[in-house]
Symmetry: C2
Subunit: 421 residues, 2 copies
Amino acid sequence: MRAYDVLIKKRDGVELDKSEIGLLVESYLDGELTDYQMSAFLMASFLNGLSLDETAALTEAMLSSGDVLSFEESLAPLVDKHSTGGVGDKVSLVLLPIAVECGLRVPMISGRSLGFTGGTLDKLESIPGIETSLDPEKMKEIVSEQGGCFAAQTERLVPADGKLYALRDATGTVESIPLITSSILSKKMAEGVEANVIDVKFGRGAFMEDEARAASLAEMLEEVGRRLSFKVKTILSPMDQPLGKSVGNALEVAEAVESLMGEGSDDLMALTHRLVAEMLLLAGRVETLERGVSLSKEAIDSQRALERFVSIVEAQGGRIDLEKEGFGLPRADFIASFKAGKSGLIKGIDARGIGELLREMGGGRFRAGDQIDPAPGFVFERKVGERVAVNDVICEVHASDESALSGAVSRLRDLIEIEAL
Amino acid sequence: MRAYDVLIKKRDGVELDKSEIGLLVESYLDGELTDYQMSAFLMASFLNGLSLDETAALTEAMLSSGDVLSFEESLAPLVDKHSTGGVGDKVSLVLLPIAVECGLRVPMISGRSLGFTGGTLDKLESIPGIETSLDPEKMKEIVSEQGGCFAAQTERLVPADGKLYALRDATGTVESIPLITSSILSKKMAEGVEANVIDVKFGRGAFMEDEARAASLAEMLEEVGRRLSFKVKTILSPMDQPLGKSVGNALEVAEAVESLMGEGSDDLMALTHRLVAEMLLLAGRVETLERGVSLSKEAIDSQRALERFVSIVEAQGGRIDLEKEGFGLPRADFIASFKAGKSGLIKGIDARGIGELLREMGGGRFRAGDQIDPAPGFVFERKVGERVAVNDVICEVHASDESALSGAVSRLRDLIEIEAL
């Protein structure tokens, strides 16, 4: 059996066994199976599908392609949270210190911004001095001292995923549920945690617009997790308008800090508390979601989560100055208000359009490796479902130059829909 | 519209238009679309199919990737024949001089052996001195003087086909009927002929084992030809046992010469006359197949086709010596007889197995670029349906060393099936 024969089997719709999938991934990493052969396999998998067993085997093969972190047993329960990505999704920044204060250990590995969605890592890196490239030893040290850390994906963890993702991105095979499943689970399993809560987003500001497809992904994540004895709990959450108040790297960190201070917006905090509660439930730390939610709220009310965030950031070399306006984060030089052109009800704020606009303003990437400007973004004063009068401020626009500012303000007209009453 | 978007459309089963397919092929030849992107497209085409219009567009795009030969109008009618490949298929060698003597002009471009099947070009090259790398000027000169020539595919004609074929071969996407159709038709159209008769082979000695699939290919070849105003006539022919008496490069040239002398075997000559007749019919030179067949036979009986063959070979620098035994062709040093182990009826001669055995004896290629030994092969004294007694010679085995000879003789036991009566 050669890797080529495995490709032919998948082309012909035959279910592959674990050793065949292992051979395929190994041959690819060895360079014996070429990029063009692997991309033919990916397209065949996209079109013919991969079963739960095949997806589990692929996840394991990818996991074996690199290192797997392991923490001392005394650090249990190790639990992480993952989001499939959205616009304004700064949940990880708020959730991690809360989860730590509720007794969980969270060695979180995050990604960078991709397409129109942001990335936790890019947001964090707007904090002056912060270091996110942590080697395993450093991660263990910080998790042991602080209870959690924010780290970047490294090439030593699941190297197969980086190679495969680049190929999928170039060949139109990203949006395959089994391929997404194996990519997410292999990376989360490599963190050495025992359980993971996954926030599967749907709607026009998510990669998966369709709720039914998001539900299929959620089901597959849980089913494949079960096959691999890795505890996975998914929740589905809508992503039509941006989550919380702000969109933009430094602005979202500032919002996260304000949320930890107890001033978080309802949508952001409801989702964050729910996810913390699911993590606690999954780790067996609480018996009901309600109990988890109240523990999560206590961590905010007591200011313990806020202090923990500042302390973790410091342990990673960064500084959040709670006394300063804007917490010492980079701030755009040009700020303008976007006002309602007519009175009525805000019917929609196009999350995807906002994400794409941010990217054009320098706050996202068109290509891997692009530099990100932390300052630009949007702060929404009003959200979907609220009434506005003419000239009410709907959002503040932050930009690094005047032409970007005026361009963005005029573009918002098309992205924010107001229905006259 | 970028080539990438064309790939996505095909992935999603949307029919592509001519400009989209043109863009895809051009981008690929420019290097803008990578090999791995093209192989994803090929797999999507393999699995989702290509319509007749898409296949016609792909054929045209491939044709435009290189030069197209053009001959003076006085040389009309220019007609060629193509075979999808089989074992012992030396029809082209016999047919070309006959067709020329029947008034057709045949600038034939042939391929090399591939897998278990032989290639006309490799067979021809067992003739001492022959040159098959003819540039367009030389082809025109020989066609003009001799009425036909045997030339090798060059990189200037349909360069897209060479690149795509290599990719299909490595990614399991060779056996797609639309992709086969565009590959065959683009190469034949690039010859500058007005019509082509295509011998679509099926059975265990052909690339397409299944007759129904061969019939689909034949239908698509004719339909796509019609859309491109290129006259195509297909015939389906079985390929279970080797065609004619011999298998092996020099041995098949010798058989072709003997056939031109009037000593051809029934199966080979029936197919050859039928194909010549179809060419004459397609070119409007005869009104019925029967008339075509009798013209073809006359060319043999009059020895004109034999003389034409010798003369074309000479024009290409080669020499066939009709006076010498074996016509001056290379001859193996080791020859043995394979005899019937029991009496009975010959039930099967496994064409594919024979082709593979020849390849192992040096008479075929495992990889493009492998050197071919012209001498080894088989000459069958008896074929399927004939009765044999114990120790009757079924075939002669020619090999270049003793161990290959004894190995081949013992292997034949499994490839030739005798049913006791």
